[in-house]
Amino acid sequence: MKRLSIFALVALLATLCLGCKPAEFETNAYRTLVGAGAAYDVTMHSMADARSEGLITAEQYAKGKVVARNFYALYHAARIALEEYVASGREATDSEAQRERILATLSSMALRLAELTDYLRQIGVPEQGAREVQNG
């Protein structure tokens, strides 16, 4: 038996996106946002399902939402920063600083997503798209 992590979904989406444009900074940042956003949505559905099925308490659900809110804020901060970067053009004089800001925000965002999935695993929320599967 092999447990399939929620991040397999992100990996899957990244794999599906391999046919996209060559790896440029904004393309990679954009793909990261798409993958993380999809993983977050699936994770939040799992948590809501667990609550409706009585698998977690209202307190655990509320705490999960606090963690989710951290991700939510960073996701939109990264999205806005990337939008400004694309609008200003790659040749802008402050583009290096913008890239660093986007990378830092994306890194923090990824950590918050990992924190959210770790917390849900800790309280026993079954991962959506992460059933135990027979491997071979």
Binding site: L16, A48, E83, Q128, G129, A130, R131, G136
Partner: protein, 54 residues
């Protein structure tokens, strides 16, 4: 791992429908534009938006 990924995509499709999978793939097609980045606002909903399902 190939089998596991297949299960993941089938569950994603079952949960959110084939359009959800295609949407994620479609978002990655073509150049990254201001408009495309702005459209990502709809991808991530506020945590409270999931309450009605709980």
């Amino acid at each position: 791992m190939g089998k596991a990924l297949l299960v993941a995509v089938l569950e994603l499709a079952a949960r959110h429908g084939i359009p959800a999978v295609l949407d994620a793939v479609n978002r990655c097609q073509g150049d990254v534009t201001e408009e495309k980045v702005r459209s990502l606002v709809d991808l991530v909903r506020d945590p409270d938006a999931y309450d009605k399902e709980a």
